[in-house]
Subunit: 381 residues, 2 copies
Amino acid sequence: MKNFEYHNPTRLVFGKGQIAKLAGLVPAGAKIMVTFGGGSVRRNGVYDQVAQALEGRDYVEFWGIEPNPSVETVREAVALGREYGVDFLLAVGGGSVLDGTKLIASALAMPGIDPWEIVLSGQARAAIPYASVMTLPATGSEMNNGAVISRRETREKYPFYSRYPEFSILDPEVTYTLPPEQIANGVTDVYAHILEQYMTVPGQSRLMDRWAEGMLMELVELAPKIRANPHDYDVMADFMLVAAMALNDMIRMGVTEDWSTHMIGHELTALHGIAHGASLAIVFPATLRVLRDQKRGKLLQYAERVWHITEGGEDARIDEAIARTEAFFRSLGQKTRLAEAGIGDETIEVIAERFNKAGVAYGEGRNVTGDVARQILQAAK
Amino acid sequence: MKNFEYHNPTRLVFGKGQIAKLAGLVPAGAKIMVTFGGGSVRRNGVYDQVAQALEGRDYVEFWGIEPNPSVETVREAVALGREYGVDFLLAVGGGSVLDGTKLIASALAMPGIDPWEIVLSGQARAAIPYASVMTLPATGSEMNNGAVISRRETREKYPFYSRYPEFSILDPEVTYTLPPEQIANGVTDVYAHILEQYMTVPGQSRLMDRWAEGMLMELVELAPKIRANPHDYDVMADFMLVAAMALNDMIRMGVTEDWSTHMIGHELTALHGIAHGASLAIVFPATLRVLRDQKRGKLLQYAERVWHITEGGEDARIDEAIARTEAFFRSLGQKTRLAEAGIGDETIEVIAERFNKAGVAYGEGRNVTGDVARQILQAAK
């Protein structure tokens, strides 16, 4: 096991009717900016619940944080926040609203620095406190200090790190009205988050392995139940809880990670605008095919424990595990090949070039350079 | 799933050589009291590492917090802490040292109130900040706000709750010199912690079930490896991590709990001085035998997922799962019957009487009264 520190101070407030607790959770006397996306919270009742809980409080609203939140939008929000002297942010929406809000929080605490500079720095050195009412189980942003921001003008998309949310309120009932494709992308994203922390080196931590495997098995079990009845409270509660736990540092204690698939997926989103979850469904099976030798031990463990594949030789079991992973994504309605998404060699070369130019090397072996990214994308054709 | 809040702000600092980080973790300018047990930290090198990390800092030492820490000892420590104007505590040792320190922290923040009153209140309303260097994987005290305190003069033992540690440093290398019986009691205690949060109602949270089952399986896998080589870093690191995660709120989100076994075990310790882990090995199999009907669904799931028992009728599978649980404790070297520990009917009646007099009722069904405790203890004969 590797040495590590774990410190996640976010308060998770989970369950039916919990949005009303906002009244007690937002600090007294705060000058609040509430941030929203495109308006779905007006239709699902969340906006009304938030407005009721904040009645009498000093707040301003900022609307329009888009999917794959852009630095351009963040700049507008920062200007509004400055104008009102905001000292607390409340994101109400999905992971994109919260990710955008994380950058707003940092920019408000770092005057004179353009938000894109903060993103490029990788780690913000300050941020005002913020919290969330999370409406979409997917990104895990509700319990971590990371965010992914896009820059429209250059079609770039990068992660950065900031402080943790003060609290996040998760009411599974608000997921009932989510469109099926958002749920499918959410399930894909959560499955990928777990795999990125798991599918590396075997034997680093039995506990982390068991926890990750339990979550992967659970997602496989939950997915058809969600499709069958997205108004089943216990099913949606389990999904919402797994989403939060998948990326809150709890399953990466003492283990190596490999975020290659996410980093390649971000490029597909930045260049073609395809949804984040959808990008991962295309890249992940290909990553496993290309890196099967270096991930061999863990792929065998994954085959046995998550997919219960015990027959056949080692290579056959690995083939089967990768095939089942791709089939799982397809069962969600995802495309799993670049050609299906209309993406060809030109994009592959742009991404390989970007990775090579930036000199990056992802993966547990720090070997996923532009050339390996090209192999992965070729294997995803 | 039940509504819940999760908020665990403790920083976990885990791995080889991490004790040196104390220098940066203890607040600058703090007036520190370092609390110890009986002196094993002098023999395993931990004392020297702590002294080196705190060189030049303003601290006083308090020695002698005993196993099953007593309020009598805590009172002495509080007097010393007051005399020195202490505002930060550092517990160095096992769960008992840390539990005692939690009560010292509360008593120092609540002048004029006797520490036993704080214990009896169940929840301290204040505490000064404290932290730990944990040397024994067992109680989970390193990442939670609970503590169990004994009162020697009345032979009583009760839990109470306070604030969370600011940080806990866990270096698996310091466990190499633990006596085998302390490790056996630690494994038993951790297994029991998980079961108390798991062995209740099925279907409340798939995630919590998977995580608990993963930990139980892991302990079963680890125990013989620990016995074979208690100097295997990765084995001890996994054990130390499971111990911390078993009682830090992570596996009780949204689920019902049943702490009957612990509460009955505390009585055996208070009345007969037997080690906490040893008391649980005697009580838990009996609890499962007596409450098998109300725990039926979960026992069947436990049989299948933890012990991989799939043959035979339902009752046979439950019998087998309970037998395997008892056999697991015996494989650690534990006694699992009251008679083996020289405890007879007189004690059973005292405990039943105490429960009835206090009007308590433990368990997920709030039905473990004195009469049910008597049945459990009779089933443990």
